[in-house]
């Protein structure tokens, strides 16, 4: 399972949570695409080409925190998930919840690859 599949799996898990039960498949797909793009942009600036596997693990942890912080600051003071959803077409809380889970999936993937 690669990171993209991990994102999609996270979204699938999120569907079981009550606060996301009203979100459509389209919104969830957009949320996954958004998370993927954010990770890509972050890696362009902060992931060192030539780094070791240990560096990649540290990077993934830091990237998740950075994106989480960025989103939190960007939408600080907004009325909440509904307003964000109206403005951006996907649920804010889903993104916030997605990133730490994504990191856990990444760790699992890493362990799986080491076997």
């Amino acid at each position: 399972m690669d990171r993209h599949e991990a994102v999609m799996s996270c979204v699938a898990q999120m569907r079981k949570l009550p606060q996301f039960s009203s979100s459509s498949d389209d919104q969830k797909a957009k949320a996954a695409a958004f998370a993927f793009d954010q990770l890509h942009e972050d890696a362009m600036e902060h992931l060192a080409m030539g780094c070791s596997d240990d560096d990649v693990r540290h990077y993934a942890k830091a990237a998740t925190k950075r994106i989480h912080r960025k989103l939190t600051e960007q939408y600080k003071g907004s009325a909440g998930a509904n307003e964000f959803e109206q403005a951006n077409g996907f649920p804010f809380l889903l993104i916030l919840g997605l990133l730490p889970t994504l990191y856990n999936w990444w760790l699992m993937l890493k362990k799986w690859m080491e076997w």
Partner: protein, 282 residues
């Protein structure tokens, strides 16, 4: 916010027509690849980063050399170490440790600092951030001046390469990739132990089973692949594409070096009468 009219009223009939365009694919190939040669690549020299982690610098310098060859036919060896150290400086986060550098900082350094000749800044025997003034001055005259495009789609990359442009890629690197001979397959590109991320340059194309595919130049010396080069299989590319950390960045132009001047000593004009504009000149 007040509701403002846009001046366009669409009837139901027109709306049905517009919706009908949904059936038309949004992206499609315009370029005809059938007239291309089966393979082409820059004859630029393969280099070896040895034990350093300067792959991004090597990919950046190869990109410079490739552009130079395409534009002028000159084989110029640019300095990977200069590209590596200036990109580490540009990043404000990697300088001081031989732990690699980011793709964005390679672009920033190529644009702001340029790249000097290999002879002016060879790879030191151990990690050092020292750059000479001569190297800095030479590099300043040879900057990347074109655009950079984020290309991850296979067809777009092939179009880009067959236009004789260059691409820098950043991909996962596995232990089995040391065994690549001429084709980098999915099995080789995803087997064994994960080693980290590795940057390389795409410098042309070759045909595998009738499919035009990117030709990659590695910085692990002539012993890797076929003289340091290999052809990337589409299945591997599609697998890379699903990774958020995968990059394929297309570069356009650089400030070219002045083409080598001809030596006119002893030249005899044999084209008839000496042209008026030559007369009187020494």
């Amino acid at each position: 916010m007040s509701d403002e009219g846009l001046g366009l009223i669409i009837s139901d009939d027109h709306e049905a027509t517009i919706n009908g365009f949904d059936a038309v694919p949004l992206t499609f190939r315009v370029k005809d690849l059938s007239s291309l040669p089966a393979a082409w690549e820059s004859p630029i020299e393969v280099m070896n980063q040895q034990q350093s982690n300067a792959c991004a610098g090597y990919a950046g310098a190869a990109n410079f050399s490739h552009r130079q060859y395409v534009e002028t036919g000159e084989l110029v060896k640019y300095s990977p170490w200069f590209s590596y150290i200036t990109s580490q400086r540009a990043s404000n986060q990697f300088l001081g440790r031989d732990g690699g550098t980011s793709i964005k900082s390679v672009i920033d350094a190529a644009t702001n600092d340029g790249c000097c000749l290999e002879s002016m800044c060879p790879r030191p025997s151990r990690y050092s951030t020292t750059l000479t003034q001569d190297a800095i001055r030479d590099a300043a005259a040879h900057k990347h001046i074109g655009g950079v495009v984020d290309l991850r789609d296979w067809d777009t990359v092939i179009d880009w390469l067959t236009d004789l442009r260059s691409v820098v890629i950043g991909t996962r690197w596995y232990s089995t990739q040391a065994n690549v001979h001429d084709v980098e397959t999915k099995a080789l590109g995803s087997g064994g132990a994960f080693r980290g991320y590795h940057a390389r340059a795409l410098i042309g194309w070759a045909t595998i089973g009738g499919v035009i595919s990117p030709r990659v130049l590695n910085s692990h010396g002539g012993g890797w692949g076929t003289n340091g080069r290999a052809t990337i299989e589409r299945e591997l590319w599609d697998w890379w594409k699903r990774d958020a950390n995968f990059f394929a960045l297309g570069f356009t132009d650089i400030n070219e070096r002045i083409p080598k001047r001809r030596d006119w000593t002893g030249f005899n004009w044999t084209g008839g009468a000496t042209p008026d504009w030559v007369r009187g000149q020494t």
